[in-house]
């Protein structure tokens, strides 16, 4: 068994499910739409034009998480995992192929989303976005792709740990919507190293926490990596 056929198969699994292809489209649409809306409200002392342009990522990430969750959870329904592991019995290899098949499309869609979001957001902001440098814009676009990918992988890893998409979504979505918003204002606390808070530093023109744009993404990467390792361990250990 080699890796390429396993990856090819996992990619086909994603491509042949309409809900998953739709989920990828939703990442782009939700992000661009909410970035445009955010631009309409650009008053206030702590206005950050870069964050305004990428405000929609907070919503687009939910679609990315749903994508990562569904792509993984479809293997935990009925006897699907048995079919998958009968075709690719090396479980570590199968899990790695699954993770790559989830990561690559999200990365591509995430980069496009970043570009579209930038164009839409700046068009809405007009002159207020003039202060953004080329470097900052590029950083945020790349960051958008990487951040969404890591969140999708985090969700996929958790799904493999919990063996259920419903359990994962009912844990992650409330977490993003409530926990982060509630304790989000307490900068310099534990909240800064939560996967979403840390990763979203990349969308800010200025930041005052310990984590910068890239170290923040690295922290999100650690979360995603930990979830994937736990998921892989559980798939390898458990009877299918």
């Amino acid at each position: 068994m080699e890796f390429t056929p396993a990856l090819h198969s996992e990619w086909l699994k994603i491509r042949t499910l309409r809900s998953l292809v739709g989920g990828l489209a939703a990442v782009l649409l939700a992000t661009a739409m909410f970035s445009a809306l955010a631009g309409a409200d650009s008053e206030g002392a702590d206005f950050d034009p870069l964050f305004s342009v990428f405000f929609g990522v907070s919503f687009g990430q939910i679609a990315a998480i749903a994508f990562g969750t569904t792509a993984m959870s479809s293997e935990f329904r009925g006897g699907a995992l048995r079919i998958a592991l009968t075709a690719v019995p090396r479980r570590g290899r199968w899990f790695a192929a699954k993770a790559v098949a989830i990561a690559v499309p999200v990365l591509v869609v995430g980069l496009v989303t970043g570009g579209v979001s930038l164009a839409v957001g700046e068009a809405v902001l007009g002159a207020k976005a003039d202060g953004l440098t080329w470097g900052e814009e590029l950083r945020a676009v790349v960051g958008c792709g990487v951040y969404l990918t890591l969140m999708a992988l985090l969700a996929a890893g958790l799904t493999a740990v919990l063996r259920s998409g419903v359990a994962t979504l009912s844990m992650v979505i409330p977490f993003l919507l409530i926990v982060s918003f509630v304790i989000g204002d307490m900068s310099g606390s534990v909240a800064d190293v939560l996967p979403d808070r840390a990763g979203q530093v990349v969308f800010h023109e200025t930041w005052d926490g310990v984590l910068g744009p890239w170290s923040g993404l690295a922290v999100t990467g650690l979360w995603a990596g930990a979830a994937l390792l736990l998921g892989a361990w559980r798939v390898r250990r458990r009877d299918a």
Binding site: M1, P5, R82, I83, A240
Partner: protein, 306 residues
């Protein structure tokens, strides 16, 4: 040639032994019927062979190697475990394409097995629109995809219509005829009797029998002769004189246990008893199976000594 070898295989779930020191070999060129009541450990054994469950002890190999060590395993072993496992939102054809891609099986095989299983016309419909019988056929198509030397099917006739049952019977015979190793589990005796050459019988996780089907039946069911006559009294006395017991049945026929038509026919003729019907009743798999499970404890001790 590839056989399935199960060596003192044991699988415990908590304190319950689903499979208990099982040892048997499934040989190529034969259809081996895998019998036992629900919960006897047939499906567990198949999962253990496929490396899906880890055995508590013992081993299961295909062609001498553990399943996970096979390169492109679908080209060696084709299995149907659960026909409901295919994702409902994918088309039947896509389901097979996904499997084919993982083992570098050419696309043309997908269309071949779809035609072979009679699914060509519904191949581009989503699996959730399939009937139980169509899903069963899709599962069988998946098992045949890699032209494997070993085919393992768990209850393949589930949900098939009468035509489908005849089809699967012919398919199993053909696969064995091509020299493949075929293991088919079932709890339907008459169905199994129609295609199996060899039997492996489980009861509560233990091996109860591993014998050719004909021997299995002959060893357990005594042949008997079925007779209908117009003169029951004459028949009874003629047979009694030669030490045969005649049993009357509700619908007017009689049976003689432990007897052969050659003898009974001559006796009746010599006694001048008019016969309307004279036939040998062969033992059925069902009778033999019930006989076995009735004497389960005794038989298990015997096989373990052997």
């Amino acid at each position: 040639m590839t056989s399935i070898d199960v060596q003192s295989l044991t699988k415990e779930y908590g304190s319950r032994k689903a499979v208990d020191h099982l040892t048997f070999t499934v040989r190529p060129g034969l259809v081996t019927g895998f019998l036992g009541p629900n919960g006897a450990g047939k499906s567990t054994t198949m999962r253990l062979v496929l490396g899906l469950d880890r055995p508590t002890s013992g081993s299961a190999t295909v062609g001498g190697r553990p399943y996970p060590a096979l390169r492109e395993p679908l080209r060696h072993v084709g299995a149907l475990l659960d026909a409901q496992a295919a994702h409902g939102s994918r088309t039947g054809r896509d389901h097979l394409c996904v499997l084919a891609a993982s083992n570098r099986i050419p696309q043309r095989r997908v269309d071949e097995v779809l035609a072979e299983t009679g699914l060509a016309s519904v191949a581009r419909r989503r699996v959730k629109t399939y009937s139980l019988g169509m899903r069963q056929r899709l599962g069988i198509a998946a098992a045949l995809l890699g032209e494997p030397e070993v085919v393992m099917l768990d209850e393949p006739s589930n949900g098939l219509d009468p035509e489908g049952i005849i089809w699967i019977r012919a398919l199993l015979r053909r696969l064995a005829g091509e020299g493949r190793t075929v293991l088919v589990s079932s709890h339907l005796m008459n169905e199994t009797a129609s295609f199996a050459d060899h039997l492996v019988v489980l009861g509560r996780g233990r091996l109860l029998a591993d014998t050719p089907m004909r021997e299995f039946i002959d060893a357990r069911v005594q042949p008997r002769v079925r007779i209908r006559t117009t003169d029951a009294t004459a028949l009874k006395s003629a047979l009694a004189r030669h030490g045969h017991d005649v049993v009357e049945h509700e619908n007017g026929h009689w049976t003689v246990d432990h007897a052969r038509v050659d003898d009974i026919g001559r006796l009746a003729s010599a006694a001048g008893v008019p016969l309307l019907e004279l036939a040998q009743e062969e033992g059925t798999l069902e009778q033999a199976y019930l006989d076995l499970t009735g004497t389960e404890t005794e038989f298990t001790t015997q096989t373990q000594e052997a």
